[in-house]
Symmetry: D2
Subunit: 219 residues, 4 copies
Amino acid sequence: MSFCASSLERVKPLWDRMLAHPFLAQTRDGTIPDETFATWMQQDYLFVEAAIPFIAALIPRAPREHWTPHADVIAAFAKELELFEERAATVGVNLRGVPPAFVNHAYIQFLLATAANEAYEVGYTVLYAAEKSYHESWKVVKSGIDPGSKWFPFVENWAGEQFGAYVSYLEAELDGLAREAGEGLRKRMYDFFELTVKYEIAFWEMALGGAAWPGTEEA
Amino acid sequence: MSFCASSLERVKPLWDRMLAHPFLAQTRDGTIPDETFATWMQQDYLFVEAAIPFIAALIPRAPREHWTPHADVIAAFAKELELFEERAATVGVNLRGVPPAFVNHAYIQFLLATAANEAYEVGYTVLYAAEKSYHESWKVVKSGIDPGSKWFPFVENWAGEQFGAYVSYLEAELDGLAREAGEGLRKRMYDFFELTVKYEIAFWEMALGGAAWPGTEEA
Amino acid sequence: MSFCASSLERVKPLWDRMLAHPFLAQTRDGTIPDETFATWMQQDYLFVEAAIPFIAALIPRAPREHWTPHADVIAAFAKELELFEERAATVGVNLRGVPPAFVNHAYIQFLLATAANEAYEVGYTVLYAAEKSYHESWKVVKSGIDPGSKWFPFVENWAGEQFGAYVSYLEAELDGLAREAGEGLRKRMYDFFELTVKYEIAFWEMALGGAAWPGTEEA
Amino acid sequence: MSFCASSLERVKPLWDRMLAHPFLAQTRDGTIPDETFATWMQQDYLFVEAAIPFIAALIPRAPREHWTPHADVIAAFAKELELFEERAATVGVNLRGVPPAFVNHAYIQFLLATAANEAYEVGYTVLYAAEKSYHESWKVVKSGIDPGSKWFPFVENWAGEQFGAYVSYLEAELDGLAREAGEGLRKRMYDFFELTVKYEIAFWEMALGGAAWPGTEEA
């Protein structure tokens, strides 16, 4: 079995828990409170922004043939930020000067530390796990959301075909990297796949009401 | 006012909150449950271990005269790990194979990402803030703990004179770095001082019962 | 005086030596042997390629407003590589599988090590110094070369207005960074400006006949 | 055949060239001019110093069991620097404020860039190749030098048993890393082994009279 298929199988209970998260169900069903969705928008805007230095940090470790695709991803993130800004302006959400929630800050540090210190294959695993999670999570939302919803542009962005093709590309590349990897490295890739899914779940949890820094802010 | 004095003043409410944390009070008063202290031991053991690559990552960015002190700190961390192992063996706590609590994992990522990407002065600020926090926190414990307590060796380690001299050295060096820094850099140093204190508080909070990964483990 | 103006003044003898380099004069005058120019093409192709991870490595250290410009520069380098490939195909030069000359390898390591370990301002200084050197060097060539020369597309690329505007942008940004920098950092920026110019001169020297690895290849 | 044995076999002509270098022969035979040896001392002092951040940068990428050995190597480099200072004081060589020769600067950048960007196994290969080269090179000198020579302490340092045991340790570890590595990674490790030997030869060449920066200093 390929590395990606095997990774998904290994974390199946976590993965199912992620896809069944109330944030996704409520967004799909149109019952999510506007201020809850706004919290997610504000935090994910910061997260997408921070994904730019994460990708950039991968490039000096990447094989030559990955440089251009990574540079393209940086450009794609810049476009995602514009999507946030357009939606925020349309629905009246403020994106400026919002401090990162604890879980968001932590997840960003995880991306940056991984890119800086782990083997390239491990960083690539985290990239794939995060993008795959987003693709599948928003497909859950897409399966039932009213196409006229003001949140639909986000749904279309990550659940759509173009993003799906990108995730498939990442999957094929990661499977290739994993085939070349020794036992110890592959073990670490599995661990970081799981860690990423745990951070993804924590992120949805935060959006739903867990933005506080432990011990210093009200929950 | 020096940078360090000014930093402490700026975060005073947070700082007081940290020093008043129930974990410290309960340890001082001898009322802390053994299993709670064991959780802290297990997690802090992982944290001290992770501080080794943090310090190592600072060296290539450090001025020449900081290389040897940083290398000495790595050796000091190795000794701290032995203290944990000695205490753990004595009181029957298992330190092997314990997974990091969410807050601990996050704090470690914060250290590593900061060392990798921020200016050296910012990384040094985080080092100072973390060590100063530990010195003062354990001084709170020392102020009332029974010297015969099985936890006393930890108290002595961080609240003692040798550690205090090390913190004073860091303070003098950091004040020197801050004097040389421009406005924008100094602003970032202040921000990371505060962030570190927030992670410290989150760490005590975690030790007291918040070890779970949000959304995937029971609190 | 601005940092950039002051840097250029400080290295004036080196700078004049660079602009007076025989490689530039011979290219301007149309007397450069084809195989000499081909050596430069092969080596500079490798150098431009390696500039991609250099720029990428700067991004995680860069202020937010520099991320997009740096990403754009990566795209510009990709276009420069296409220029090399188009010229190489037209004039019959092989660009594939050529090993880096010693000086080229060294210069690339200098870029990568600087981006990895030095303060962002120092990395930015190296970027500016290298681009400014290329702009001015190729302006020397442009001042006399036959516009019908088969090498003219290179001349136009670096001596042209678009590249000139980019260099002016870098200059303004670097002057801004230097204004914010403390004395010690500014000193280091000056040192790396000079180092870069020395590597630039070494690169022209290599193109003219010094491609060998010392002690292992014939000069 | 183990990776290290195989690496040595692959670069045999280069390796023999290194061991037959006139600098080594002249030092062995006592015919090396004092000022030539002084040049080597001054440059190697800078090189050993720069090896400290190289090793430090490896630690955050290293497996846990390599952290302490690397920290010990940093301490060993500090002792080597003291050996240089003691010898320099005894024989009247100035070690302060000497600028790096071109080849030395380049070699240092190669170390730092490799530690920053290449897989850990590749950085470890460079470490082993450099230390193995030094051990064998100084054994050539030891085979004939007068034990009363003022340079003998250097010979003893690198050709002695303690250093030999360290090189053997590195060899066993590197062979282990290579066994775990995939084909592509092992190929890159071979390439960097060869590159390191080429830099070593260039270093001896520089000591013998090639300290100039190409095009800007007299040879």
